[in-house]
Symmetry: C2
Subunit: 628 residues, 2 copies
């Protein structure tokens, strides 16, 4: 077994595609990770914005969370409808493309692609943040840790994650269970203590206020908190993966995911307020995430704390995996529509779309490096893409229902309409609040991506236009090519090339290039011509076939390219309308160090001929191999 | 004019080779630089060895120099004879090869090549040492300065130094003149002062002795001092460059070079003793070379001092140039004899042997980096090669005279015999004295180079053996090839390829690879076959030509290579004895970014086919170009 097989696994045949269908139990880990783990960074992002107003900010986290929960409810009902209407693939790209047109579809696609990249970076950096909270001496290694986790996830995805069901289910349910216990216990303790519980492990005090609460600050906190909703659309992308009854299973999965997410968000907001827990700066020593502080405050720093933090780390890292499933799937769709390079639509040895996986990993690595793995710096770029895609998808659904004749379509239209408007407003708030902090990068990246789509598409359209055959094979006037054989004198290579050339055509011209001059050149030409007469013309004459001609050409500048090209031009004008086949005899080196011993003239000549862009030239490689 | 032309100069035609012949006046700078400038580091190298015995060492520099001068005299008379006997090219490689055999010749060549590389490194590092003596604050930049000077020399040589006569003559004669003045004035002052002159600018005191004088120490000092003789052979390499009377002009040039060198060596030894000037460590701050100390002591640190030091720096750097003339010439000769890659024998755009120049520059740069530009560390590696080449050359001359029937051959034989023995003994002393200090590197490098020669030669011999034609063109049994055309379905590319293929042979098989499976595959095959019938078979039938066959092949692992290779194997066994021509239609991308949009299957297929090593396969590239 080769090293590559060990690392990437044996190649899979096309018909080995995993066709196992899933139910809600497997669906929640497979599609809910991105959404559920948003609870780990969404509330924290909002609290980070509230940091400058000190303890006063904690009073506002409740109302902000309520608005977010309301928006989440709207999204829930909207996506239920999308799932029912597109039971195969209800991704934003498809819904927007089918209902609003190609470019709105591509706009949604661009927004989603950017968000998938950000989800990887944010998921991993938040996971590492959880790890660093538990083990502060790892703080200095934030970026290397992020990149190492990214590398492992990328490798696993290149192998294909078909067998990884349990690996996903275990940490997901562990995360839900442990956070559920922490939050439930915390709420219980708070109620018992009359709203002011005593923390087991005291969180650091919330710093003093340095500015007053303002509406602008609250809007910004809301905008940051909206990142908690990213990933909710995942179920609608993969409805086809559910077993029958497909739509009902998808609905159940969506319900579980959104329900758990809502409980987590509500619980975190409630306890942050009760325990007076504020955000801390991730780029400073001693940093602790909100979930770490809450867990410590509620259950202390015993073994349970580490199990909980471990499950957060694991699920956050795995949440990056949602992007690794969705991004290649999306880029493949776009590539199939000729708006991305076709490499994205090619299944690799393990039947995964390796192009998309590698591209996603490269972009995420770049982001992690540029932003030094700090979640808080990535958050402003995030959510713009998700909410743009939400809005376009909902708008597409509105259009869908307008054309629909089903008897509930009026109600459906209203639900998706409210969804579109609500997510649209949220998008505007996010844009306004986050623009200068980093959202401008996302806003700039979208037209860049769209331009890329356009350029790629233009090329493929040109390619198709110019290569598509409008008529059957035309064999009229199919004259034989004229053959040119570059030669270094009479040897076995030239012999093999000439035999082939003389089959190809009756007009064969061998060209001998000489970089000698004066007397030496004359002597050489004499020798070469004598050999030609004896070794080529004589046997050809005996066989009664047309004699191949020999031309000896001087190369005063020792370049072989130019004289051969002008020889070709001469043949082109001498034999108008006929192809010129350049038959290049070539010793092929099979050991790398032999390459140092040769100037690779044949390969360079072939490249020069093909690059020249001459429709009338065809290049024939006649290889010659040395025996050992 | 392109950037390349600005940097490297316009290309030169082969017949523009500079044929200007020179006399002694131009010959001394052109061929004497290496030899003359050895006086700048040879005595210093000997004095460095004597450093541990303090002032006592200075008493021995006189006798050591006398031995060196005696050896120089022997070399002078020996090389006079070599020049007379080989008035075209009397290089050690040629002399040893013609008289002693191929491998002794290659041994001399390997020794010389190593010495040329060392000469570049030593010349430049000694030049920079002179510069740093005058401007001590440049000391920290020793290595960058060395590399910058190397880069300039390399570039000038890639342009060709044909026009650089004056640039060489001026500093050479300035060097001879200024050192002549300094030495003459110093000797005069010493005699006036009764052997104990008062220095104008006092040299630093010689450090106290830390060990006693021993024979071993004196031998080591002699061995180091022998580096002063490197470069003496240069005239014998280039006799053909002199105008008639060629031999007499060469003799005169050699006489001037050796005479001046002897005066410089004697003067330096005398004044070092008189002024009590010892060597200093180059890798320490405040370092001053011997010549700098002598000049300062004799004339003070006025403007004349800086002119003299400037001329030393310039000539030392230019002395590296001697290697840049001789190394490519030598490596070209070896390459022409098939013991080095043929690239070394190819004249570049400026008619210089760029391969040798670049290789020399790379090796010298490596040495300068590894030894941090410190002359003293490079000296132990030096001289081994030169004296090995001296000895082999003299031994070759002895053999030459033994076969000769000229009436003076007995005397000639004795002179060269004494030369061979004297340089041989010097070589043994150098080896013994310097082995552990670094000469082992040279000793190790020589067999490595010889092995390289052997391997290269074996390959070229095999190549010639297997490609040389022992019989004329054999057209018996020249059956047409069987043609295989990989196709993606009926399009214009396939059309162009088929038209060509059908000229080539009556047996044409198009192969359509399908990576679909099940129903989809059947559907696709049906569609492709229908197109084939309509668009290919029908017109072929109307023209009464044999119908090209279509095969649809499944690729369960999505690889195009393996199924096509097994298709080729199938054709090979179906049509025994016939060539298989694989006609590959290919869209050629002329813009770099288009390469990202394609998977370059045709190029990869061509590479795979050629690398496979199948004698019966010929590859035909049918290019297709998109119009703008």
């Amino acid at each position: 077994m080769s090293l590559i097989s060990v690392i990437f696994g044996r190649p899979l045949a096309s018909d080995e595609q995993d066709e196992t269908k899933i139910g809600p139990l497997a669906g929640v880990p497979a599609m809910g990770l991105d959404g559920l783990t948003s609870s780990a960074y969404g509330p924290e992002a909002a609290l980070t914005i509230l940091l400058p107003v000190g303890a006063a900010g904690l009073a506002y986290i409740g109302p902000i969370t309520l608005v977010i929960l309301a928006l989440l409810a709207v999204l829930y009902f909207s996506y239920r409808q999308t799932i029912a209407a597109y039971p195969v693939n209800g991704g934003s790209y498809t819904v927007a493309r089918e209902n609003l047109g190609v470019w709105p579809g591509l706009l949604a696609a661009a927004a989603l692609m950017i968000d998938y990249v950000l989800n990887v970076a944010v998921g991993i950096s938040a996971g590492v943040a959880a790890l660093v909270s538990a083990a502060p001496n790892l703080h200095a290694y934030t970026v290397p840790l992020c990149l190492a986790i990214l590398a492992v996830i990328t490798l696993l995805n290149l192998r294909g994650t078909g067998e990884a069901g349990l690996a996903f289910a275990l940490p997901t349910y562990l995360f839900i269970a442990s956070m559920g216990i922490v939050l439930a216990l915390g709420v219980y303790k708070t109620i018992i203590a009359g709203g002011h519980p005593q923390p087991v492990f005291a969180p650091p005090p919330v710093p003093a206020a340095v500015e007053a609460v303002s509406l602008w600050l609250l809007l910004r906190a809301f905008a940051s908190g909206c990142t908690a909703m990213t990933g909710v659309e995942a179920v609608s992308n993969g409805v086809s993966a559910f077993r029958e009854p497909r739509v009902r299973n998808a609905h159940r999965t969506l319900t579980i995911i959104v329900g758990v997410l809502a409980l987590l968000l509500g619980g975190v907001a409630y306890l942050a307020h009760a325990y007076q827990i504020g955000a801390m700066r991730q780029d400073q020593e001693g940093y602790q995430s909100i979930l770490s502080q809450i867990t410590g405050a509620v259950v202390g720093r015993g073994s349970f704390y580490f199990v909980a933090i471990g499950s957060i780390l694991a699920t956050l890292c795995l949440s990056a995996n949602t992007s690794f499933v969705d991004f290649p799937r999306l880029s493949r769709l776009i590539a199939q529509h000729d708006f991305l390079p076709r490499g994205f639509a090619v299944a690799g040895r393990r039947l995964v779309y390796s192009g998309g996986i590698l591209f996603l990993a490269a972009c995420a690595a770049l982001l992690l490096l540029v932003f030094k793995g700090v979640t808080d710096r990535l958050i402003p770029l995030f959510a713009v893409g998700a909410f743009l895609a939400f809005t376009l998808s909902q708008a597409g659904m509105v259009q869908h229902w307008r054309k629909s004749t089903s008897n509930h379509s009026r109600l459906h239209l209203w639900i998706n309409g409210i969804g579109a408007i609500a997510t649209g407003i949220a998008l505007l708030i996010i844009l306004a609040a986050k623009f200068t902090e980093g959202a401008w990068i996302t806003v700039l990246a979208i037209p860049v991506l769209l331009t890329l789509f356009k350029l790629v598409n233009r090329h493929y359209v040109k390619l198709t236009d110019q290569t598509i055959a409008h008529e059957p094979l035309d064999l009229t006037n199919n004259q034989p090519p004229v053959v040119l054989v570059p030669t270094k004198g009479w040897d076995r290579l030239t012999g093999k090339a000439l035999r082939f050339a003389m089959w190809l055509s009756t007009d064969v011209v061998a060209v001998h290039l000489s970089n000698l001059s004066g007397e030496e050149a004359e002597e050489e030409e004499h020798r070469v011509r004598r050999e030609w007469t004896e070794d080529v013309e004589a046997p050809a004459g005996r066989h009664g076939v047309p004699l191949p001609k020999l031309r000896v050409v001087q190369t005063p500048y020792r370049s072989f390219r130019r004289p051969l090209l002008s020889e070709i031009d001469r043949l082109k004008s001498e034999y108008p309308g006929r192809l010129i086949a350049v038959v290049i005899p070539e010793v092929i080196e099979t050991r790398w160090w032999h390459l140092l011993l040769h100037r690779r003239k044949p390969a360079r000549l072939r490249a020069a001929l093909l690059k020249r862009g001459d429709h009338r030239v065809v290049v024939v490689n006649v290889p010659w191999y040395l025996e050992d």
